[in-house]
């Protein structure tokens, strides 16, 4: 397995506060990884750096087979290179139908001219229908996504992410606000997705992480505190202090 993403020695501070402090992180192709950590550990900032929303003060972020630096790329270029992101709060385009949302996310040329003259082929329609089935929204294709329940919006966003067909998926608290049954389905989708691509899941909920059954990275105060299996990191004295000591 080759390394897909390598973050090394990255630091970023906001008004003097070090949100990320000399952080290093690696993930390989087709790997599932959970990132945990207490509030303010820098989990969201970490994702912001990878997706180009925040520029680090120092460090390197290298991605892909050719080892391109993500630090020089715009958000849209990074997304086109195959990094997809799901936000903590479900963000779908609420004024548009589920179909339109998925069609927009479908992996296609993203330039204005190509989009202007775009006509969905039968293949595209089938892909959208398949995705809708996978996320349990087949019956709601023509409803405006603003009408969906919180859980359904989470699903739709996961569906949009899969439609983008990314090589690296960054998922921020996917199970927030879901029922136990929905959580189980989400775990299945993520594990399925991780068979063909790299998936990074940021999560608070230990039970959910346990079910993912993967390597865990613990963040604390902007750096990696521990890494390994869930059992391994939960036995780590420092991790126990960080989580329970305060």
């Amino acid at each position: 397995m080759s390394t897909l993403l390598e973050v090394s020695g990255v630091s970023v501070s906001f008004d003097g506060f070090k949100a990320i402090n000399n952080l290093s992180f690696q993930i390989a192709d087709a790997e599932l990884r959970a990132v945990i950590g207490p509030n303010g550990a820098g989990k969201t900032t970490f994702m912001d750096i990878i997706t180009g929303k925040t520029r680090p003060d120092e460090g390197r972020v290298v991605y892909g087979d050719r080892g391109d630096s993500l630090l020089k790329m715009s958000e849209s270029k990074i997304a086109q290179a195959g990094i997809g992101r799901k936000f903590q709060r479900p963000t779908v385009f609420e004024d548009q139908s589920v179909f339109d949302n998925l069609m927009m996310a479908l992996k296609k040329t993203r330039g204005p001219l190509a989009v202007l003259f775009f006509k969905p082929t039968k293949d595209d329609n089938d892909k959208v229908a398949d995705l809708a089935e996978q996320i349990g929204l087949s019956g709601a294709l023509h409803r405006k996504s603003g009408e969906l329940s919180h859980g359904q919006k989470q699903w739709l966003e996961i569906g949009m992410l899969l439609a983008q067909d990314p090589r690296l998926l960054l998922v921020d608290e996917p199970a927030a606000g879901m029922t136990p049954a929905e959580r189980e389905h989400t775990t299945d989708i993520l594990r399925e997705a991780a068979k063909t691509r790299a998936v990074v899941v940021v999560e608070h909920d230990m039970e959910f992480v346990r079910r993912l059954n993967c390597k865990v990275t613990v963040l604390h105060e902007g750096s990696v505190l521990a890494e390994g299996s869930l059992d391994h990191v939960t036995k780590n004295q420092q991790v126990i202090e960080v989580y329970l000591g305060r």
Binding site: D95, Q96, A105, L116, A129
Partner: protein
């Protein structure tokens, strides 16, 4: 494959019935006005009113452009009337040059020697620029002798200005109210520049006599007014079809998504700036074409037409008509500008309160301002929202939440279910 109903690719007209309804109404209106006109019909509608109607159609076209850039893409531009004015200046230069050339040639024909080209050129220049104390053509008039080149300028000048300005503004991620202020500053700067006598466009005198078509002096204004009326109707019809096509497909999806949540669109991989720039430039070109049809009917253009207030009015029309629906923009522009003509033309009866007489010429702007505030507060769907009542279309119940986090995002009351 499960059995899910995907939208079938029905013909464009069937998927968007409002487009066909609009085109049909516009066609009927054009035929009706022609039949009632003095030029080709029974003479119920005066020529000056035909011109008013023709001008109104041009205003509807620029409102359409405004709706595309603001209602669909969320960019509250306060510069589109400047693009409109630039289109007017571009065509006005040719109209004025060509007509003055005919007059100069006629007066020189009596001379014993045939005039040299230099004499002709000097004659035209002193005729046109006498009012600003100049007698030579400024460089920007280099193409004024050629109709095709000036027609090209109608498209290129607003288009290029929008392209350069938009590129600078969008690239720096200027959004929301800051972008509005920036576009307004551009409009003001342009207007102030044109007010100067050495701007090369006759300062505050502007260009005049544009209603006279060069070489058509024996055709009466009754006929000419109808030519421009038809031209305006055709432009509006084609413009409407173009806009409807742009917003109907995935491009429409993407720009509406940019309006509601542009950061999210970036993470989907769409180059948001390129989309904004494209829509800003295309609408500037539409505005320029509308202006080029408007000013020959108005007869005169001066820098006051480009003042920022004109662009603010444009936003008011679109808001009163209903943002984010094409026919709303057309209804808003037509309704407000016609009512405005009625009130400011002195036809509205004054109201005598005994101690004070409300004269509508002065009080109309107050009324317009009040109705703008009322529409924004109590009927955000505008006049176009009446259509929703007619066809029983419901709004969503989102407990007051907007449809996206951005400033331009559709409000709950503006959306439909």
């Amino acid at each position: 494959m499960t059995d899910v109903s995907l939208p079938r690719r029905e013909p464009f007209a069937l998927r968007f019935p409002s487009v066909m309804v609009f085109v049909a109404i516009l066609a009927l209106f054009t035929v009706g006005v022609t039949i009632l006109s003095e030029g080709f019909g029974i003479g119920v509608i005066s020529t000056s009113f035909v011109k008013t109607l023709g001008k109104t159609l041009c205003l509807c076209l620029v409102a359409l452009a405004m709706d595309l850039v603001w209602g669909y893409c969320g960019i509250l531009s306060l510069g589109h009337m400047a693009f409109f004015g630039l289109g007017g200046y571009a065509i006005g230069m040719w109209l004025m040059y060509a007509r003055t050339e005919i007059i100069v040639l006629e007066s020189l024909a009596a001379a014993p020697l045939p005039p040299t080209p230099q004499e002709v050129s000097d004659g035209i220049a002193s005729q046109i620029f006498g009012v600003v104390g100049a007698s030579e053509f400024p460089p920007i008039w280099a193409f004024a002798h050629s109709l095709p080149l000036q027609l090209l300028a109608v498209v290129l000048v607003p288009g290029l200005l929008a392209l350069v300005f938009g590129w600078l503004a969008f690239r720096s991620r200027v959004t929301g109210v800051y972008l509005s202020i920036l576009t307004q500053a551009m409009t003001l700067a342009l207007s102030l520049h044109l007010f100067q006598n050495d701007s090369g466009l006759r300062g505050n005198n502007g260009l005049s006599g544009l209603q006279n078509l060069p070489g058509q002096s024996d055709v009466s204004q009754d006929i000419v007014s109808l030519w421009f009326f038809w031209g305006s109707a055709l432009a509006l019809g084609l413009g409407y079809l173009l806009c409807a096509w742009i917003v109907s497909g995935k491009f429409g999806s993407v720009i509406r998504a940019i309006r509601d949540d542009e950061a999210r669109v970036r993470f989907l991989g769409y180059p948001v700036e390129a989309f904004k720039l494209a829509i800003f430039t295309v609408t500037a070109v539409i505005a320029g074409i509308a202006g080029a049809l408007y000013y020959p009917q108005a007869g005169i253009i001066n820098p006051a037409e480009l003042a920022p207030i004109a662009s603010i009015y444009l936003a008011v029309w679109v808001a009163i008509g209903g943002r984010g629906r094409l026919y709303g923009a057309v209804i808003g522009a037509a309704f407000v500008s016609l009512v405005s003509t009625w009130f400011t033309g002195g036809q509205a009866p004054d109201i005598n309160l005994g101690f004070y007489t409300i004269s509508w010429v002065d009080w109309w702007t107050v009324l317009l301002g009040l109705s703008f505030v009322c529409v924004t507060l109590y009927a955000p769907k505008g006049i176009g929202g009446l259509v929703d009542i007619l066809i029983d279309r419901k709004g969503p119940n989102r407990h007051g939440a907007d449809l996206g986090p951005d400033q331009g995002a559709l409000r709950e009351q503006e959306a439909d279910k």
